[in-house]
């Protein structure tokens, strides 16, 4: 699903200030029926993350936290079964899972002698049953299952998607009889930067030495971050390579081909390998 910049912008335009709920996602699918769901979700998620990154700070001022906490307390006093925290998050345009974390932290600060460690917070978010307050536990859980961009469940889904595509790619490589070193093997050898696969025999067509699988949509922001953190680093060490954005990418980003970073939305079909024997 390779989109032009214009197509992408049209989708991104529809995502401004949309809460990360399943309802929003449903509407988006209706709006762009021709796009694949996975691509839409990926774009949605990335756009929302960009939005949160931009606004993150304003939700973390002590005044803001205090005000959210008071609103939460007032809300649950009135009706503990109502989606107080979720509504609050949507109202102030913040991710429900992150709002849950914020309130949980604040709650624990109040109820525990020592400030809660990050790992305790994370553990409680993963399993809200550990939260000492039953009402808060339910509120937090509600936030987490209703957030389609943040939270431990979403993280796990993303991780699983990434893993699945790596497995998929590995199978394809095996099927094509391309010998490779995977990330674990590279790490064991002490490589400092490890793409998903390094091909031991470079592939012709465009010559590539490594392949990186990305189970997401390649938008400008994420692509540039990946270029900086990963792709150029791989190039610096192994030469030209291939990035597969399984959920597509913005066409215009594929501008480093000549220099040695090739983008694709699927596994290339026209692979030519070095002939081992000269007939």
């Amino acid at each position: 699903m390779i989109l032009t910049k214009a197509q992408y912008d049209e989708i991104a335009q529809c995502l401004v200030s949309v809460p990360p709920t399943r309802q929003s996602l449903r509407k988006l699918k209706q709006r762009f029926p021709s796009q694949s769901q996975a691509t839409l979700l990926s774009i949605f998620s990335q756009e929302y993350q960009k939005h949160i990154k931009r606004t993150h700070a304003k939700h973390h001022t002590s005044e803001a936290i205090e005000s959210y906490y008071q609103r939460y307390l007032n809300g649950v006093v009135k009706n503990g079964a109502a989606p107080v925290l979720l509504d609050l998050a949507n109202e102030v345009d913040y991710a429900p899972s992150l709002m849950a974390r914020l309130i949980l932290e604040r709650f624990l600060q109040e109820h525990e002698e020592t400030p809660p460690s990050k790992s305790i917070i994370n553990s409680m978010l993963r399993d809200p049953s550990q939260i000492p307050d039953g009402v808060l536990a339910n509120q937090v859980y509600q936030c987490i299952v209703n957030d389609c961009c943040y939270g431990p469940l979403v993280d796990c889904i993303k991780h699983a998607i990434g893993h699945e595509h790596e497995v998929l790619l590995r199978d394809l490589l095996l099927e094509k009889n391309l010998s490779f070193l995977d990330e674990d093997q590279l790490r064991a050898k002490g490589y400092d930067k490890t793409p998903d696969f390094i091909l031991q025999v470079p592939v012709e067509g465009h010559i590539i030495h490594w392949i990186e699988s990305k189970a997401s949509f390649g938008d400008e922001c994420s692509h540039h971050a990946y270029l900086h953190d990963q792709f150029w680093s791989y190039w610096n060490r192994f030469g030209p390579g291939l990035v597969i954005y399984w959920y597509g990418f913005i066409q215009e980003l594929d501008c480093n081909r000549e220099r040695g970073i090739l983008l694709k939305a699927c596994f290339p079909t026209n692979i030519v390998t070095l002939c081992h024997s000269i007939a």
């Binding site: 469940l153 991780h159 400092d192 900086h228």
Partner: protein, 1227 residues
């Protein structure tokens, strides 16, 4: 000096005698008495003859070449005056010049002589001072006044020189001060440090001094005496003796003739563009003056001077062979004599009379002279590249003046294979990551490792940015990248990081600047072949087109300053911007090491007997290898010189006097960064000058002004000068250096002698004869110097400025005047051979000697093959041992460790102690490595040797070669193994131990043995991510908030659980975290089922899930938990207050599903009764509404009342009993 020339021209002395006189300080026995007498009186001036001659020729040609490329000549008098130097009369220059000529012109002399004395130049006997250069002895005596007569600024060409001002009366003889009208040297004048003699203008003084002089005329009585100041006064050629009358008349006639011609030409005689621009009209609107052999004036004189000049060139008495050739080519391609009248009208009518110069009176003279000289240097010409040869052979003037030479050149062209290719600059390729040198084990700490990781990326980021932007106008390296580079360098705290970075830097440097871009570049010699079919006119246009296309990469004239072309610029700027002394030091260390390594590389030596076809093929390889080594060395040495002398170089003029003395005293204490003197001496002794000298020249070209004054470096220069003198091209014989090798050395040395920091006097002051260069008698008979390792490709690659010759000729063809800048690219080599490492040869015994003897009589390729095989097999052997023996030991270590852990319990003891125990058990096994290694080498080497040697190799030779390869490989492998095997085992075991211990750590269950999917599985199960996502949706629907129309169908739930089963059974795509989340989600789903919280789609009446459906779904879940999940399932969450609390919200509360679930859990062994009891017990502690707490207590009691081990039938009958829980709840 003039006197010598005079004697020569009067045939009092022979040319041979003169040359002998110049070249040697004493007369040869072959000189006759008359000659000896004539010359001995001039002994004091001997050294000055050559500079005089060179300057004389430049001066004489000034009217012919006003617009051509500047012709630098490195002679003591060559320095131009500083354009903006302190006012006042230019003291030294005038004085010096006037010394040369007899005082016949009283008018100017009167004013000039005292001034000259005032300038303190009385001692300076230097010749040819007319350029305002400093005196010959100044550099040594240190007497020169700063600023006065000092060296001109680099690159100050003539254009900015003050033109004649009449208010500066006496100094009319100084041609430096009175540049030729219209002589505007082209090109980027600010960047050319090489000294040059610009065409010497006709001074106004001369224009006033009629009648014109003739260079044959100065009477011998005017020969300079030992009192130099007595010679002050008249410039060369004044004082016309009566004998020259006829010549004078002849010249008058010529002038008339020429002016007639000029009037006939359609354009003005001196169009304005010609005045300001170095480019004459290219269009041919100005017709070039045709050269006609019949119209040459004074043939004999020209012949004589040409002969002397040629002899000086041939004897290497001139500093730069190619510069002289360039000058001669300029004469050959001169377009027309220039009239100066239009350029400075105020000076007329006097200037009109200054047009004549004595030696070259016409284009015909110039061409005649040039052809005469070229005839003497056919051998050099024939070794130029094919393109140049073609242009020469096609030159119509050459054909006209010397058909014989033209014929020889054409033959040489036709036989030439010296195509020089212009290869496009290589594209950037990164240095690949090599675990052996780059992984964590090579760093002192994790931090250093990660810092370097980042630095590598920053380095390439910077490099890419440079590639993208450096050609953009206005982009500045320092502004664009400086701070980022410094920030990066700032992070290199550990010394070891510096060395890592320097290694990367150096490798990248070699890779980018030395490796070729690949084949397929244009070939210099080829283009004209194709183009000649198009005819000369089109050819010219195409040349111009090509020139335009290739313009950016000018080599900067025949004597360009040391530059950093192309990618080299990046590395230079990087060093400058980094301005890190640690980096520079590490870089110098690394460069020095690499230079020593490459310089000492045993390059195969030529075997003169071996001249069959095979050796040809071999020589291709040898040459390639030599070229790669040489070019690498030059690149490294250039950067070493650059960095090493960086702290001492600056824009300020060199110090003089006491300051200089103190600096010298200081600097002589500093040891050289690399002992180049020893390397040079060794190189000369071992006859490897052709390898050592070119890189040494690169190194020295960056020396600062003080360096040549230091004794250490003076020695080097002395050696180089002697070498230069000894490289007489015409002397070719067995045991001498190959011609092209000599040519390369002459070219690079000549270039070095033009570098401004090399003192001007160095070349001419050196006493040639008495220190004649001697080759060490113990030197090997055949060194690298005797091998044909240099070809034209390498020559032109090392000395791109030789290509200026071709450019000059091409511009003649195209009708455009040659100018600096142009189409000549930096030529990069086409070889890609990597440098073979020299195999270690530790064994010095008889065997080694025998092996040497064996190789001696075999072709060099055999030796290379054997050494290569030994090297590779030895290395493979080590790898093999690592992969087999060491890996086995590591596995043993792991199982031993497991045992230890079992016996010692969870803690397993101190890891360090464990490691010691393991190593003490395992390291002794390392001894096997040697035996295994020996076996490996024996098994592998012979086959490899056999495969690589020719089929026809005699059996005995083959078996010897195999044995030697086995021996060498074994030696190499065993040497490494015996030194390192224990450490290697230790390291690997240590890594294994830490791996195992880590695996023991946090999640032992997750690390447990996992079942894969069955072999028949086609992996079509839904993806885990999809399932998590689906279940999450159900959970979010159940938890709410939801729209009224939202819900799930029971079928969907059933399907979902079915898919979950499939996914769990096909484990292809499942990773542990995904499974954990699936487990947790399934438990949550069960809780929601139990609490009947799942909104069901359908008619409103069926808003709740049927009991039976719920039970069926719970059964599916139970089965999944029991059968399919391989990781732990957090079933206790079913009884967490939060999930049990879900029941509190339902009215009426229904407990039967929970009770059912709990029983099933126990039944299936998923949870123990005790565990459930504990959970139920803790539930009581939570705060519940009163009625809920009661019901909960009842449930507990009911559950506890069950028999501990229920029978299967009981279970079955319970299943059919409906609503038991409801009853319970209602009771």
């Amino acid at each position: 000096m003039a006197a010598v020339l005079e004697s020569l021209l009067r045939e009092e002395v022979s040319v041979a005698a003169v040359v002998r006189w110049i070249a040697r300080s004493t007369q040869g026995s072959e000189d006759n008495a008359g000659e000896a007498a004539a010359l001995s009186s001039l002994r004091a001036l001997r050294k000055e003859f050559v500079p005089f001659l060179l300057n004389f020729l430049r001066e004489q040609s000034s009217r012919v070449l006003p617009q051509g490329p500047p012709t630098p000549a490195k002679t003591p008098g060559a320095s131009a005056a500083l354009p903006g130097r302190p006012g006042g009369p230019p003291r030294g220059s005038r004085g010096a010049r006037s010394q040369l000529f007899p005082p016949t012109e009283a008018q100017s002399t009167a004013a000039e002589a005292p001034l000259a004395r005032r300038g303190g130049r009385r001692r300076g006997p230097g010749p040819a001072r007319e350029r305002g250069g400093r005196g010959l002895e100044e550099g040594v005596s240190g007497e020169s006044l700063p600023g006065a007569g000092g060296r001109r600024l680099r690159g100050s060409g003539s254009p900015s020189r003050p033109s004649l001002t009449l208010s500066d009366p006496p100094n009319l003889s100084n041609l430096e001060e009175f540049p030729p009208v219209g002589s505007v040297p082209p090109g980027p004048t600010g960047t050319k440090p090489s000294r040059r003699i610009n065409p010497t203008p006709v001074s106004e003084e001369r224009s006033l001094s009629k009648p014109k002089t003739c260079f044959t005329s100065p009477p011998i009585s005017c020969v300079p005496s030992s009192q130099p100041s007595a010679l002050d006064t008249s410039p060369w050629g004044l004082g016309l003796p009566p004998g020259c009358r006829s010549l004078q008349e002849e010249r008058e006639m010529l002038r008339k003739e020429r002016s007639k011609q000029l009037q006939q030409s359609p354009t003005p005689t001196c169009p304005t563009p010609e005045l300001g621009s170095p480019l004459p009209s290219r269009t041919g609107s100005l017709t070039d003056e045709p050269a006609d052999p019949a119209r040459v004036s004074s043939r004999q004189r020209l012949e004589l001077v040409a002969l002397v000049y040629s002899s000086c060139i041939a004897e290497n008495l001139v500093p730069n062979l190619f510069l002289e050739l360039f000058f001669v080519f300029q004469l050959l391609t001169a377009r027309r004599m220039v009239t100066a009248k239009d350029s400075d009208p105020e000076l007329s009518p006097a200037v009109l009379d200054s047009l004549e110069s004595p030696l070259f009176q016409s284009i015909h003279d110039c061409v005649f002279f040039a052809v005469q000289v070229l005839e003497c240097h056919f051998q050099v010409l024939s070794n130029l590249d094919k393109g140049t040869l073609k242009l020469l052979a096609e030159n119509e003037r050459l054909l006209c003046f010397s058909p014989a030479l033209q014929g020889r050149l054409r033959a040489a062209y036709e036989g030439s294979v010296a195509k020089v290719s212009l290869v496009m600059p290589p594209s950037t390729q990164a240095v690949s990551f090599q675990p052996e040198t780059d992984n964590r084990a090579n760093f002192s700490s994790d931090r250093a490792f990660h810092t370097f990781k980042k630095q590598r990326d920053v380095f390439y980021e910077v490099l890419r940015e440079w590639e993208d932007h450096h050609e953009e106008p206005g982009w500045d390296f320092e502004k664009g990248l400086g701070s980022r580079i410094r920030a990066m360098m700032g992070q290199l705290s550990a010394a070891c990081s510096h060395s890592h970075f320097v290694r990367l830097f150096q490798k990248q440097l070699l890779q980018m600047c030395q490796s070729p871009g690949g084949a397929g570049g244009t070939v210099l010699g080829e283009a004209p072949d194709v183009l000649s079919m198009l005819g000369a006119d089109k050819l010219g246009r195409l040349w111009r087109l090509q020139e335009r296309l290739m313009a950016p990469q000018s080599s900067g004239g025949p004597c360009p300053p040391p530059t950093f072309p192309g990618c080299q610029g990046f590395f230079r700027d990087f060093i400058l911007s980094a301005s890190s002394f640690q980096f520079n030091q590490h870089l110098m260390d690394s460069l020095s090491l690499k230079i020593q390594e490459l310089n000492g590389l045993a390059l195969p030596q030529h075997e003169p007997n071996d001249e069959d076809g095979e050796s040809d093929v071999d020589w291709q390889g040898e040459r390639k290898q030599f070229a790669v080594v040489l070019l690498s060395l030059r690149l490294l040495a250039k950067f070493l010189g650059f960095v090493a002398f960086l702290p001492y170089r600056g824009p300020e003029p060199p110090p003089t006097g006491e300051l200089q003395d103190s600096i010298l005293a200081l600097r002589s204490q500093v040891p050289p960064v690399l002992d180049v003197r020893t390397l040079l001496q060794r190189g000369l002794q071992a006859r490897r000058a052709v390898l050592t000298v070119p890189w040494l020249v690169e190194f020295l070209s960056f020396a600062d002004h003080v360096v040549p004054l230091l004794e250490y470096y003076r020695d080097i220069f002395t050696l180089l000068l002697r070498l230069h003198r000894s490289l007489v091209l015409s002397q070719e014989s067995e045991g001498k250096m190959c011609f092209l090798n000599k040519l390369l050395l002459l070219a690079v040395l000549g270039w070095l002698f033009q570098i401004p920091t090399v003192p001007e006097d160095l070349f001419f002051l050196e006493e040639g004869p008495s220190y004649a260069f001697e080759v060490d008698t113990v030197a090997p008979e055949h060194g690298l110097d005797n091998a044909p390792v240099v070809d034209q490709q390498l020559l032109y690659t090392c000395c791109p400025y030789i290509g200026e010759l071709r450019k000059l000729l091409a511009s003649w063809v195209s009708g455009s005047s040659g100018r600096s800048g142009g189409f000549m690219r930096k030529i990069t080599p086409t070889t890609t051979t990597s440098l073979g490492a020299q195999p270690s040869q530790t064994s010095q015994g008889l065997q080694a000697q025998l092996a040497q003897a064996f190789f001696h009589n075999q072709p060099p390729s055999l030796r290379r093959t054997v050494e290569f095989v030994a090297e590779r097999i030895g290395s493979n052997c080590v790898k093999h041992i690592k992969a087999t023996l060491v890996a086995d030991l590591v596995r043993q270590a792991e199982s031993l460790l497991q045992e230890q852990l079992v016996t010692q319990g969870e803690e397993g003891g101190d890891p360090a102690q464990l490691l010691e125990i393991l190593c003490s058990q395992l390291c002794p096994h390392g001894a096997q490595a040697l035996a295994l290694g020996r076996e490996f080498c024996q098994r592998k080497s012979p086959g490899a040797v056999r495969a690589l040697l020719p089929e026809e190799t005699p059996a005995a030779v083959l078996s010897s070669a195999e044995n030697i390869a086995v021996g060498l490989a074994t030696e190499k492998a065993c040497a490494w193994l015996s030194a390192n095997i224990t450490a290697l085992i230790r390291r690997e075991v240590k890594a294994a131990v830490s791996r195992t211990l880590r695996a023991q750590g946090p999640e032992p269950a997750a690390r447990g043995e996992r079942r894969g999917c069955s072999r028949a599985c086609e992996h079509h199960a839904p993806l885990p991510s999809h399932l998590i996502s689906e279940i999450k949706d159900v959970l979010s629907l159940a938890v709410g908030p939801r729209d009224p129309d939202e819900g799930v169908s029971p079928e969907h739930l059933e399907q979902l659980l079915g898919q979950l089963g499939q996914t769990l059974r096909c484990r292809q795509f499942l990773c542990p975290p995904a499974e954990q989340h699936l487990a947790k989600c399934s438990v949550e789903l069960a809780s929601l089922l139990v609490a009947d919280q799942i909104p069901i789609l359908g008619p409103p009446a069926q808003y709740r899930l049927e009991r039976g459906q719920a039970r069926r779904l719970l059964h599916m879940l139970l089965s999944l938990w029991k059968e399919d999940f391989q990781g732990p399932v957090p079933l206790q969450l079913l009884l967490s207050p939060r999930n049990v609390g879900l029941l509190a919200d339902t009215r009426p509360r229904e407990w039967d599903l929970l009770l059912f679930l709990l029983r099933e859990l126990v039944e299936k062994g998923l949870m123990g009764r005790m565990e459930i009891e504990a959970c139920l017990g803790s539930l009581h502690q939570a705060q519940w509404p009163g009625d809920f707490a009661e019901e909960l207590a009842t449930l507990s009691n009911l559950f506890l009342a069950e028999p501990h081990l229920p029978e299967p039938q009981l279970r079955a009958c319970e299943l059919v009993q409906p609503n038991r829980g409801t009853v319970l709840a209602q009771s």
